[in-house]
């Protein structure tokens, strides 16, 4: 049991985590969990948000020290006290949030990651070696490009290449395909799978996409609320069985069926152009019409101008040119216009974009109407009782888990913050709804509830613009699908007639 001793000289090795228990104060994040990853296998780790997946892999990587339990690397017990120990043993992790430095080039990022960066870097020699390394790799990245200039897909490839460049032989991937198109995801996972089959690598992948588990993984371990809920060979399981194991007996909100007729044009964009923070054109003269009673989905890999488009609609960013009309009237994202046209917004990262974290749940729920009756008298005297009563009603109706209506909203979990925003935005009548990645990072129960609410708003006659990076969500909800690439709408189809391969190709810009 010597730290730094490298188990097998080359090739894949296995990792076993036995009887892992992790306590954070009173909270039991892991309860006697077992994870056995065989050498040379592709292992999937499934579970809802907060099920303990991240905690488990962070214990393996030495970020956390498990309260109890043992970790076996290649059948040898190891005490991993920090990530450097894990790296020395050949373990590597690709995080959900990129750990590349955006302002640096790909080559700088790769060299920097090494433990033995020379005091003075000989760039011509390093680049020759990097090119020789890339020649052996299944995917390519532009070495001299700045990371901030390459696509999310290329960044993810970079992250994986970085681990391979560092000669890691056990890779942990945390939701590696969340920023990739389905085709890119298949490409990257397929190539990693080839390396696994050749015995060069063992992979443990955290995911919630059953499609990828079914296509690429050999075995699966499922966690639920910090406990081991199931494990087995993927070949012997179905997505349904895995989903049931993940969520247990919890009841999910049933989504209402699609009903009603499409009506008048409600939200019209004409040649809208917007810049990003660096001053480059992010939204390139896009035009779109959303009618009453339909959901128009905007698909696309993150970073193709969707965020800027939503910010323009939300009033967080000024459009450079173009015109937006709501129900025929010019729209400049003023509060008065939003109220008059019953416009609702579910922006991405709701805690940042739709809430004031330090203010109470009740205050946050009242934002839209706080200076009108019954919340205020004469437009300035606030009636706290009305805030509380309205909040209590909505907290019950939208199943928001909060201790009191006075709790600061930043103390709530991501799903409950989104429920509170949902209660505010969809609590009254809605004629136009703009939603951006409304379910990002939320658990099944919250996702089902949000999907049901969006569908119900549509059925009541709202025009819904749904921007999402999750193609499955768009296919499920939208009536029409538009693909956004490099700030332009490059493809449009009725969702029922959309061809997934064609959509994926347009998302990747082909």
């Amino acid at each position: 049991m010597i730290i730094g001793e490298i188990p097998p000289p080359s090739g894949a090795f296995g990792v076993d985590a036995l009887a892992m228990t992790m306590r954070f104060g009173d909270f039991l994040a892991l309860d006697n969990v077992e994870l056995k990853v065989r050498p040379g296998s592709f292992h999937a780790l499934l579970g809802e948000n907060g099920a303990g997946k991240s905690t488990l892999v962070k214990c393996i990587m030495g970020y956390y020290h498990a309260t109890e339990g043992d970790i076996l690397i290649g059948d040898r017990q190891q005490a991993i006290s920090n990530p450097k120990d894990a790296h020395a043993l050949g373990l590597g992790m690709v995080y959900q949030h990129f750990t590349l430095v955006p302002a640096m080039t790909v080559a700088e990022n790769l060299v920097l990651a090494r433990d033995d960066v020379p005091a003075v870097v000989d760039w011509s020699k390093e680049k020759r070696e990097l090119e020789a390394f890339l020649a052996r790799m299944p995917f390519k990245v532009p070495l001299n490009a700045k990371v901030s200039d390459i696509s999310a897909g290329e960044r993810q490839k970079c992250e994986i290449l970085k681990q391979l460049y560092l000669k890691r032989r056990f890779l942990i991937l945390d939701e590696p395909t969340s920023v990739l198109t389905p085709a890119e995801a298949d490409e990257v996972l397929g190539m990693l799978r080839d390396m696994v089959v050749k015995g060069e690598l063992t992979i443990l992948m955290i995911t919630h996409k059953f499609r990828e588990v079914m296509a690429f993984a050999d075995e699966v371990t499922i966690l639920r609320r910090g406990k081991l809920a199931g494990q087995g060979k993927v070949a012997e399981l179905t997505p349904d069985a895995m989903a049931r194991t993940m969520i247990g007996a919890e009841e999910l909100t049933v989504q209402p069926p699609r009903t009603g007729e499409t009506g008048q044009a409600r939200l019209e964009l004409a040649k809208v152009r917007a810049l990003d923070d660096a001053g480059a054109v992010a939204v390139h003269d896009v035009s779109l019409t959303v009618r009453a009673g339909e959901i128009v989905g905007i698909a696309g890999v993150s970073g193709n101008g969707q965020r800027q488009l939503v910010e323009v609609l939300a009033g967080q960013r000024e459009a450079e040119s173009g015109e937006i009309r709501v129900a025929g009237d010019p729209y400049h994202a003023r509060r008065e216009e939003m109220r008059r046209h019953k416009m609702s917004l579910l922006p991405e990262e709701p805690l940042k974009n739709a809430c004031v974290g330090g203010m109470s749940v009740a205050d946050n729920i009242a934002f839209r109407e706080f200076d009108r009756a019954p919340f205020a008298s004469l437009g300035w005297w606030l009636n706290r009782g009305a805030f509380r009563d309205d909040a209590k009603k909505k907290i019950a109706q939208y199943k928001i888990k909060t201790r009191t209506p006075e709790t600061p909203i930043s103390a709530l979990s991501g799903g409950n913050v989104q429920r509170a925003v949902l209660a505010r935005e969809l609590g009254g009548d809605v004629e136009v709804l703009v939603a951006a990645n409304p379910c990002f990072g939320l658990d099944f129960a919250a996702v089902a509830q949000i999907h049901a609410e969006i569908m119900a708003a549509r059925n009541r006659g709202a025009a819904v613009l749904l921007v999402s990076e999750d193609l499955d969500e768009l296919l499920e909800l939208s009536d029409r699908l538009v693909v956004m690439f490099h700030g332009e709408f490059v493809y449009e189809a009725r969702t029922s007639e959309a061809d997934l391969t064609v959509v994926g190709r347009h998302m990747a810009g082909h």
């Binding site: 920090n82 750990t99 640096m104 020379p118 760039w123 810049l275 660096a278």
Partner: protein, 308 residues
Amino acid sequence: MADGSIGLWTVPLAVFGGAIRVSTPFLFVSLGECITERSGRINLGLEGTLVMGAMSAYGISYLSGSPWLGVLAAGVTGALLGALHAGICSLPRVNDIAVGIALMLFGTGLAFYLGKPLIEPTAPRLPAIDFGWWSDIPQVRAALRINVMFLIGVALAPILYWAFRTTRWGLLIRTAGESSDAARAMGHSVLLIRLRATMVGGFLAGIGGSFLSLFYPGSWNEGLSSGQGITAVALVIFARWDPMLCLWASLAFGGAAALGPALQSVGVTSGYHLFNAAPYILTLAIMIITCSPKRTLTGAPAELSITR
């Protein structure tokens, strides 16, 4: 020309000479701050560091008789103040800007207190190299008396530019400044990197202070710095955190600061105070031209508290 009068040529010549003399402290402080800010932290206390550097350089030079020992003492004092800033900022929930303002006041106050006995005596000054030996015109000779410190500063800018790209330390400082998550994921201590970067920044700012007391103006008094330290911090921002641009910005700033005295020397006395304000007008103009509410600063280290 024989009488040494060169007419209106005095003005550009004096601006040139002034640019070199006045820019040196700007150059050292801004290069130092550039290192600190690239690591993801702002040290506003460099004004205090500058004054402390000036005081300690003068004192040590006076006591030891060697101005270079004074320069070293100023650097060490600066590094210690940098360590103090970084040390306080390492504590949780401490704002680097607030600490910087506190240290600015602390540094100047301490320097005034300790420097009281140094106002009277005369300390040995730093030598200058006479690049104007070929000319008979006194103004040319005066303008070309260039201090070694300026040459060191000019050499330092390209060295830093190179170091940020090709040395391990340069890459680590940039990583800490651009993404502390990335640095931590690689197993580096962000606090340690920033501590060192702030100390080096303080060292250079201290040296910049020594130039004030040991060369130009070349004495110690309480009105020695007219906010050069804090101006240099602003210089870094409009130099876009690039050491080479810091050099050009310092020169432009020094030249602008020399404009008032130069015009006065040829008899243009009206609006003297207005011309003395030239550097600040220049700052405002550049800030207004280069800023936009619609975009973030390009080149700004992502971890800086002003850009986050």
